[in-house]
Amino acid sequence: MSAILQLDDVARRFGGGRTLFGGAKPTVHAVRGISLTVARGETVGIVGESGCGKSTLARMVVGLDHPSDGTIRLAGNADRRASVQYVFQDCAASLNPRKRVRQALSVPLTKLAGLRGKAREARLAELMETVNLDPAFLDRYPHELSGGQAQRIGIARALAAEPDLLVLDEPVSALDVSMQAQVLELLADLKARLGLTYVFISHDLSVIESVSDRVAILYFGKLAEIGPARAVYAAPQHPYTALLLASAPAPGRPLDPPDEDDGTLPDPYDPPPGCAFAARCPRAEAVCREAMPPLAAHGGAPDHQSACHFPISHGAGARQGGSRQ
């Protein structure tokens, strides 16, 4: 499989620079050096809690924001916008409240696909069919749509320019569970039919598990762990991944997370020199607070990597059996 997207040590800082009097302005370190390759046709899930930099990362991949350091490369296609598109979390907010659906969908068809007149009308109808909506919705205003319908329109707009890669930023988080399942099914169906590649961002571990081929766990702007979804879920190496998995409630499972004072992140204005998770980590030692652990394979498959000085090791049986006890 060929790579469609390659991120090389991407970092994004906000603020910074000098004030009028020469003092340094505070800098927020949102993304602190992420390298990641996405292969054509796969779904990479990106999980993390609020403030981990996942939305900033997504905005950089689609070109709405630019990295302070590092590079983002898309394969082939010179026209970047045509090959990657974005599906927003708040589907209703991504539609102009004063424009009908038809106008919203026509813009990318005209601007990016160069369609006019009859050809555009035909493609509009086709798009609506693709996302399984009646063409009558074309004449609706956004406030006349339900959350699920608005999200389908958001997907249709992203598909208008026939992209190869879709970045889905929490596409189902704002939806009720029954609507969530409808949209997930639609996304799975589209991927199979149109041969798309997904970068799927969510805070919901179970949604990510059900959609992803590979999973990247983000903590405080860095990759904590990355690997095949099954391997990461079955045998987490990074203590943060293990904490996340132990914290997620699941039907029929008693919940017993380890005691913590508070799940606060380190100060994004002043990131610690070592591992950002060290302050919360039961396995942390002095070295963790001083040196940043590199992302490396730790005993599992070579494509299962984590950034930890003292990764959790699993027996061979545990890795296959999926037991976390």
Partner: protein
């Protein structure tokens, strides 16, 4: 079966006809009155040249200061014997023209500055807005005076001066909105759709800003007419022989004591004109401002309105808290939203009951109804009762209910940032919760508040008492919310999605805390959530709600492993479960029914693959044996599940 065929495209439901802008405006009597007066005034002003009026500038020394209603002089004459009616009509023309021109100039210039500043942001914004702020740093009319002082008195100069000092109002309003809009996702979406900046500004942002420009115009035009009249009154605007309403009033002032009508007539004219413009302006604002349009600014009362015909008797003796036959409606305009349609619930001491459902299922409204916390208007408790230790809470007088709030039944809400008062320290808020129920001094209340923080495992409680909510993390704030609910040893805790706004690791801590506190204090909990995983982590029993009704209830583990109602089964099946990535996620087709127009039979029938004709025929009762009950004529049997 047809309903499972999800390939069938989603078709739009019929839209209720929405009243147009003009209809809404005419529904407002005062605004309509204003519109009529203004229309008349404008017509008269336009028609001035053709009306049979005397020459407004012709003096008649013999007829000076003729009182009104004299033959030939309907409104009398002024100190030079000029006909006041003719001068009034011509003066009106001038005042209107000047006021409208000033408004137009200020609106165009101000909106342009605001649009560019808000959309461009950064340096451009900083430079433009600092300039605008400078203008605002002058007391309003003073700057106009300074400008007139330089340009020299005169009507056109007054017009410019008034326009300039009003530019900041447009610039600020438009800039604030444009700034917010340009950070909105639809602007990002337009950018990704290939639109350039200028195009986005004109085609995406401007249409959303226009209503605010119109609102600002309609609320400032009256003011600008007033101010230009004011400058003329001071002798700095219209110069003789030209006259507007303000200079007429200024002339009349000289003869105020001998012939007051000369001043009063133009004064009343200005007042009527400005008043009708303001009435119309308010009407326009109400129509265009979406927040006011929906009537959302109605003040919710201290307690939900109760409009039940008869109170039911308690059916579950021995229950700590019982809800019987509860129906809560929202009356919006002429339609009634039936949010809760006959809910029966009971919790025993120390028990944790979960209420699960999607948004709009009525789960939160049920919880809020117990202590009358559903906002009224529009909420109304239409039927049913809530019994606390056998006492009907809905029958209590206001004072008695307030005394039970927080002491018998306490609440924990979803978003811990918005539910704590931003301007009081958490210590003040905790101490207040204690002192409204217990007659203790400040010292003792503070000691108890500190103990409460320790109880919810907040490190360093004494210091945290003096923190404001925004200084704490989300998880800490929710702990404070829980501490506040526990302040008076309430017997029942209603927790309404208390962890939904929190990150998963924080959620786990809060859920664990709730479990520990239940064991420590023996408090009964009603836990409202949409998440089966959460339900499974904290509750003993669970009730599943759909379209305002409980469709199934039973012990949590049994219900989750063998759901009897098709909705429960499908709802469980459509959520991915951690550790089971291969489990097929099966969506439920269709959408929940609108709560204004419910089918007479089972509300889920339209989406149910097991539905038959009898399901749609009439109401389905909640029936069951032992601890489990289900509202279904064709439930799933244990073997089928």
């Amino acid at each position: 079966m047809a309903v499972t065929d999800i390939a069938a495209p989603v078709t739009p439901a019929a839209q209720p006809a929405r009243p147009g802008a003009w209809q809404l405006l005419f529904a407002n009597t005062l605004a309509t009155a204003g519109l009529i007066v203004i229309t008349l005034v404008v017509l008269v002003a336009l028609a001035a040249p053709v009306l049979p009026l005397a020459d407004p500038n012709a003096t008649a020394p013999a007829a000076r200061l003729t009182p009104p209603l004299t033959d030939g002089y309907l409104l009398g004459t002024d100190a030079l014997g000029r006909d006041i009616l003719a001068r009034l009509v011509w003066g009106l023309r001038v005042s209107l023209a000047v006021g409208l021109s000033a408004t137009a100039i200020a609106a165009v210039a101000g909106s342009l500055i605001g649009l560019v500043a808000g959309f461009a942001g950064g340096r451009v914004d900083a430079v433009l807005m600092r300039g605008v702020d400078m203008v605002l740093a002058f007391p309003y009319i003073l700057l106009a005076l300074a400008i007139v002082a330089v340009l020299g008195p005169g009507l056109v100069n007054a017009l410019y001066a008034i326009a300039v000092v009003n530019i900041p109002f447009f610039a600020r309003n438009v800039r604030g909105l444009a700034l917010g809009l340009s950070r909105r996702e639809f602007v990002d979406a337009a950018r990704l759709s290939g639109q350039g900046s200028a195009e986005i500004l004109m085609r995406e942002v401007l249409p959303n800003v226009l209503p605010v420009i119109v609102i600002t115009m309609s609320t400032t035009v009256g003011w600008m007419i007033l101010e230009t009249a004011g400058l003329s009154f001071l002798g700095l605007g219209a110069q003789p022989p030209q006259a507007d309403l303000g200079s007429m009033l200024g002339d009349g002032r000289a003869v105020l004591f001998t012939a007051p009508h000369v001043a009063i007539i133009p004064g009343v004219a200005i007042f009527v004109l400005v008043m009708s413009i303001n009435l119309l302006g308010d009407g326009i604002r109400d129509v265009l401002d979406p927040r006011l349009k929906s009537g959302a600014l109605a003040r919710p009362g201290a307690r939900t309105k109760i409009a039940r015909t008869a109170a039911p008797a308690p059916a579950a003796p021995g229950a700590l808290l019982e809800v019987a036959g509860l129906k809560t409606h929202f009356r919006v305009g002429r339609s009634t939203v039936e949010a809760v349609r006959g809910v029966d619930l009971a919790v025993a001491e120390g028990e944790c009951l979960g209420i699960v459902g999607e948004s709009g299922s009525g789960k939160s409204v049920t919880g809020m109804s117990v202590m009358g916390l559903v906002p009224s208007p529009p909420g109304v408790i239409a039927d049913g009762a809530a019994f606390f230790r056998g006492d009907d809470l809905f029958a209590l007088p206001d004072g008695a209910l307030t005394a039970l709030r927080g002491s018998a039944v306490a609440y924990v809400f979803q978003d811990p940032l918005s539910t704590l008062h931003p301007q009081f320290t958490i210590g003040q808020q905790l101490m207040e919760a204690i002192r409204v129920h217990a007659p203790v001094g400040r010292k003792e209340a503070r000691r108890r508040a500190e103990a409460l923080l320790a109880k919810v495992r907040i490190p360093n409680p004494a210091r945290r008492l003096d923190a404001y909510p925004h200084e704490l993390s989300g998880g800490m704030r929710q702990r404070v919310g829980i501490a506040m609910a526990l302040a008076n040893d309430a017997a029942v805790l209603v927790a309404d999605e208390p962890t939904t706004a929190l990150d998963v690791t924080v959620q786990a801590q809060i859920l664990k805390l709730i479990n520990v506190l239940r064991r420590e204090t023996g408090v009964a909990v009603i836990f409202i959530t949409h998440d089966f995983g959460v339900v499974s982590a904290v509750t003993d029993r669970v009730a599943v709600m759909y379209a305002g009704e409980i469709v199934e209830t039973g012990p949590t583990a049994a219900l989750l492993s063998a759901p009897a109602h098709p909705y429960t089964a499908r709802l469980i099946a459509c959520v991915p479960v951690l550790g089971e990535p291969d489990r097929a996620v099966k969506p439920i087709p269709g959408r929940p029914p609108a709560l204004v127009d419910l089918p007479k039979g089972c509300a889920f029938a339209a989406r149910c693959e097991r539905a038959q004709d009898d399901c749609r025929a009439g109401p389905v009762p909640l029936a069951g044996s032992g601890s489990r009950a289900v509202r279904c004529l064709h439930p799933l049997t244990a073997e089928a599940a």
